[in-house]
């Protein structure tokens, strides 16, 4: 039981995928302008990450490993992730057309989100079991969502504040992200 709690704390705080591992920076910067879109993106990515983490584990464990096709791992994982993202896109388009329009290109770009592929590959590298893979994927998603929502909230306030002209827009956002990253790296050593 404690291993799963440890995995969660590790992926959410200590080894946060965005701020410590620096994966998934594209949606992090691109969708964080408004809080509502960031929340929508966070939910979509959580869905994709958890599902693809499980699916990748299953394909690796029961298809690639027994047949000795480990060298096809990367391309197969990408295929799995692409399918899951397509599926998610259809669901979002049906349930919330507004979110679909607002997320725009970033929804299919979850396919190229290195955090998703990263989770899948790290699961294999760290030789996780089925449940561990699932928790690992879910924890990574929670960490990503939390940071995305925090950053979006901060960006909303920064955008209406008195920012000096040279810093407006992406510049102040990246500086803020850097400071957040410094803060999150303070979590290292939380679990000994």
């Amino acid at each position: 039981m404690t291993e799963y709690a440890l995995i969660l704390v590790s992926t959410v705080l200590v080894n946060n995928f965005v701020l410590v591992k620096f994966l998934g920076l594209c949606p992090f910067m691109g969708v964080s302008r408004k809080l509502e879109t960031a929340t929508g993106m966070a939910l979509a990515t959580t869905f994709v990450l958890t599902l693809s983490s499980i699916a990748s584990y299953l394909v690796n464990e029961y298809l690639l490993a027994p047949l000795g096709l480990e060298y096809l791992r990367t391309i197969t994982f990408i295929l799995v992730i692409a399918v899951v993202v397509q599926f998610t896109e259809m669901v979002v388009h049906k349930t919330s057309p507004l979110l679909y329009q607002v997320l725009g290109i970033f929804l299919p770009l979850i396919t190229t989100n290195c955090a998703v592929l990263g989770v899948a590959l790290l699961n294999v590298q760290q030789r996780h079991g089925f449940l561990e893979s699932a928790v690992y994927g879910f924890g990574a998603a929670v960490g990503f969502s939390m940071v995305l929502i925090l950053f979006a909230a901060m960006r909303e306030r920064i955008n209406v504040a008195d920012v000096p002209e040279p810093f407006r827009g992406a510049a102040i956002a990246l500086i803020t992200a850097g400071l957040m990253s410094l803060a999150f790296m303070g979590f290292s050593g939380l679990v000994t």
């Binding site: 047949l67 295929l79 399918v83 599926f87 388009h93």
Partner: protein, 210 residues
């Protein structure tokens, strides 16, 4: 080698079938986005955006054929609202489409000159002109959106665009300019007081009685 290709192909086919099923199951019929965009437009139906009305412009925005900064009657507020809705950056109004007017205008027909030709009635996009052939025409001021479309067709040029007077009900507080005297700020800082004498700007017109 062969088995690898076969396995991958099988996997791809399986996923393809899954996606095919999902695309049918989660089919989306119409695009409610257009309604949401149309709700933000000012409905002047003036055509300055280069589309024949507000609904076609909304459809063009939804299709990505038009940009969000083409509506002069909507002005900055509409651009910001559209940017907000679509998650884009607001940009300044495209000068090719026109300039934002400060004062709202309505059309007024000079009844001495009107010949009752009905050309303006046919031009008005909101049917705000009352009249019939060889009868006097008149503009229903409360329904006129100030779109200017009735002015060109009139053969005797009897239609004028007259600015609408603002009264106390429409009066708005000005945006506070922090470089100007903000002292005694709760006490109407923009107001000219008695000792200031004549007002140099005529932005506060006297309202007519009745």
């Amino acid at each position: 080698m062969i088995s690898a290709i076969l396995i991958l192909s099988a996997l791809a086919v399986a996923f393809g079938l899954l996606l095919g099923y999902a695309s049918v199951r989660y089919k989306v019929e119409s695009d409610p986005m257009v309604d949401k965009i149309d709700a933000l437009l000012p409905q002047t139906q003036c055509g300055q955006c280069s589309f024949p009305g507000c609904r076609p412009y909304a459809e063009a925005i939804a299709n990505g054929e038009a940009d969000i900064n083409q509506c002069p009657p909507g002005g900055e507020t509409t651009i910001i609202a559209l940017a907000d809705l679509l998650g884009r950056d607001p940009k300044p109004l495209n000068p090719e489409n026109g300039v934002e007017e400060d004062v709202r205008t309505v059309a007024v027909i000079d009844e001495q000159v009107c010949i009752g030709c009905t050309l303006c009635i046919q031009a008005c996009p909101v049917d705000a002109i009352l009249g019939a052939a060889k009868q006097m025409h008149t503009v229903i001021a409360s329904e006129c959106t100030g779109c200017d479309l009735c002015v060109p067709p009139c053969p005797v040029d009897c239609i004028d665009m007259v600015p609408v007077e603002t009264g106390i009900e429409d009066w708005k507080w000005s945006f506070p300019d922090s470089t100007v005297n903000a002292g005694l700020s709760t006490l109407a800082p923009h107001a000219r007081t008695v000792a200031d004498g004549e007002r140099e700007d005529d932005e506060t017109p006297q309202r007519k009685a009745g």
